[in-house]
Amino acid sequence: MKRLHLIVKSSSLLDFILINRENIRFRRNKDSKRIYEADIETDKDELKLSLDTFNPYLQSGWWIKMMFLFIISIFGIFDKRFRQRYIYRCEFTLHLTQDSNELTIIPCGKMDHVLDFQGNVKVDEIENRLEIDPRVKKRKVGMFFSKFGFILIAIAIVVLILVSTIK
């Protein structure tokens, strides 16, 4: 049984990290609040590390879901923002050479170099880039106009109600 101690230095990446296409449960480091850790035990010598390619604009029923959240959160005021303009295209093969391995994932934030690694694990890079999907760009514009239209309608309704009550 081999052990991999995974350290991540960014909270924004936690939900995206997949090992063998599965999410991992991270815990916060006791000394530093910005460092997250996870221990993985495996019989294999190789592990596939990848980042989730999820984007809210590419999921099924994206318009209904987004508009629903926009209305429920009172014009998006009380909602959290999802800043994922890009899609992660990151895939790596981790070679576990020892019984106890340690790997630190450091985000670089570059288009052609998203992640960097430190530790005693040999990492083979298959893909390590950010991609702009033309569909996301198009749908973002569509969503902006939908929200804008909805705000205008809401303002018109409020004004009409106010005018009718004053009269």
Partner: protein, 155 residues
């Protein structure tokens, strides 16, 4: 299906509910502490009054013992005349109009502090502290206007 796909709507709904509850809670809290804020402001006025009394005593002592041709005497004399001719009715009117406004400002400042803390809490993606700030400022302006109008109406 990954975790992000599965939990997209539910995680957003959770965040919206938490934010709404927190803001409602803060507003209720601010309204409930309004009497305490009034009491605190009265204490502040009391402190100012004590401080004024001490100054008046010091000036009186100075006027009694200082040489009448001295520069210090002239300064004290001016201060004395300034204090005695001070329009206290202005302070009284300030108490009536100022208190709700100060209470509102205190409440809104609390809201800003709590909301910025909340904005930094989000795990993925970032909340909008600037938008929250602008909204709270708008709320503050509306609150001041409403309070001022209510106050004018009460008079």
């Amino acid at each position: 299906m990954t975790k992000l796909e599965k939990t997209y709507v539910s995680s957003h709904l959770y965040e919206i509910c938490v934010n709404l509850l927190l803001v409602t809670g803060i507003i209720t809290f601010c309204l409930s502490i309004a009497p305490i804020a009034f009491a605190l402001i009265f204490c502040l006025y009391a402190l100012v009054a004590i401080w004024l009394c001490i100054i008046i005593i010091l000036i009186t002592v100075g006027l009694v013992f200082a040489d009448h041709n001295n520069v210090l005497y002239k300064i004290l004399e001016r201060l004395w005349s300034g204090l005695t001719s001070f329009n206290f009715s202005m302070v009284e009117s300030m108490q009536i109009t100022g208190l709700p406004i100060i209470t509102a400002i205190t409440g809104v400042l609390l809201v800003i502090v709590f909301i910025t803390t909340l904005a930094n809490k989000s795990r993925y993606g970032k909340a909008k502290p600037i938008v929250f700030m602008i909204i709270t400022l708008v709320f503050l302006i509306i609150a001041i206007f409403v309070l001022a109008m209510l106050n004018a109406g009460a008079k």
